[in-house]
């Protein structure tokens, strides 16, 4: 069961977006940022520092794992480190999304979303 409990804590926006970006598959840093841009446009941007500090933190917490180093044929011949979601990361993401969904339902019930 992935529904958040009262002890669940919100993820930071950067961590949430990175988890979402990795939910579709393995990605390197630049691809993660491209995916986030695709999700949010210019509404949410993170810098390289925020991205890699979050990655370091998520690796330590077991939310993501390093995949193999390989070149991205769409970019250049440079080898890049890929990251992938772990089982724990996926559970955390689902719990967070369920929490946000519950919040949205409350907001809709109070007519705050304009489509209640």
């Amino acid at each position: 069961m992935d529904a958040p409990t009262e002890n669940s804590a919100p993820l930071t926006p950067a961590v949430l977006h990175i988890l979402l970006a990795l939910a579709a598959g393995e990605r390197h840093g630049y691809a993660i940022m491209q995916q986030i841009r695709q999700f949010t446009g210019v509404l949410f941007t993170i810098g390289p520092g925020t991205l890699y500090r979050s990655i370091k933190q998520m690796l330590e917490q077991g939310l993501i794992a390093e995949a193999e180093m390989r070149a991205d044929p769409a970019l250049d011949d440079e080898r890049r480190r890929y990251y992938k979601l772990t089982g724990k990361g996926e559970r955390t993401l689902r719990a967070e999304l369920a929490r946000l969904d519950a919040l949205l339902r409350i907001a809709r019930a109070h007519g705050l979303m304009g489509d209640a």
Partner: protein
């Protein structure tokens, strides 16, 4: 770096230099990837918005680097509180030097300057000695004392705040901070009173040393009150408990399965 403008290449090189603000271990682990990522982003910005885009990206990257490098250093300090303790002790020693300088000025002003003033002959007009005399005998002393006090209090407050966020001994540092500021105020007051007692001022002559010392003394009191307010705010936020501290001050991640166990 294919198809990059000279500006984009320059910004990428400058960003690699900026990466040295991060702790060495973090830089070794992620520096190359971050530099590569910035080069990719600057190429994109160049293609989309030209020079403006690259410059805007670089400015954002500077702030991003400053914010995250400080955060990463704090993370390391939190994990290695023994080294942090040494650092904070060094900071406290530095604060002590500032305190000494501050007290020296106050004592100099309130005790030694007054009897000297009584027989002091004003230097000739227009000389450097006369300018220096006017500065130290006028509001310059108060301003200088205040600046030293402000730097001193800020330095120590930051050290205490860093201690509260990065070590397992937050309360000891917090108490040390209160004692430090309160002690400063007490010593200043005591010094002024002692000076007036040992060297009474000539009849009919005002006490310039006391007036010069009054302003920094009051500032010391104000900083003490502000410091107490800071501690109170930290206590309300629960930031003085090490158990509540995690990266970036965020609450630790917990999955449902972990919570359930």
């Amino acid at each position: 770096m294919r198809g990059q403008s000279p500006l984009a290449r320059f910004c990428a090189a400058a960003y690699r230099v900026l990466l040295h603000l991060y702790p060495p271990r973090f830089r070794r682990e992620y520096g190359a990837e971050m530099a590569q990522l910035f080069a990719d982003l600057s190429r994109d910005a160049d293609q989309r918005n030209g020079t403006t885009g690259v410059l805007a990206l670089f400015v954002r990257a500077v702030f991003d680097t400053l914010q995250n490098s400080i955060g990463e250093w704090l993370t390391i300090m939190r994990k290695h509180w023994g080294k942090t303790l040494l650092t904070l002790t060094g900071l406290a020693a530095l604060g002590g030097v500032w305190l000494f300088m501050f007290l020296w000025m106050i004592v100099y002003s309130s005790i030694f300057l007054v009897p000297w003033d009584a027989t002091f002959t004003r230097p000739p007009e227009g000389t450097l000695a006369q300018l220096a005399n006017d500065f130290f005998d006028g509001p310059g002393m108060s301003i200088l004392s205040f600046v030293v006090l402000a730097v001193n209090a800020t330095l120590f407050a930051r050290a205490v705040r860093a201690g509260a966020e990065t070590t397992t001994l937050p309360w000891k540092f917090a108490i040390a901070g209160v004692v430090f500021v309160a002690g400063s105020f007490a010593l200043v007051t005591l010094g002024i009173q002692l000076g007036a007692f040992v060297w009474p001022f000539p009849v009919g002559r005002s006490d310039p040393g006391f007036h010069r010392s009054l302003f920094p003394g009051l500032m010391c009191l104000v900083s003490f009150v502000l410091y107490l307010k800071l501690l109170s705010r930290f206590a309300r936020q629960g930031r003085l408990s090490h158990d509540n501290l995690t990266l970036d001050g965020a609450i630790p991640y917990k999955t449902t399965s972990e919570n359930g166990r």
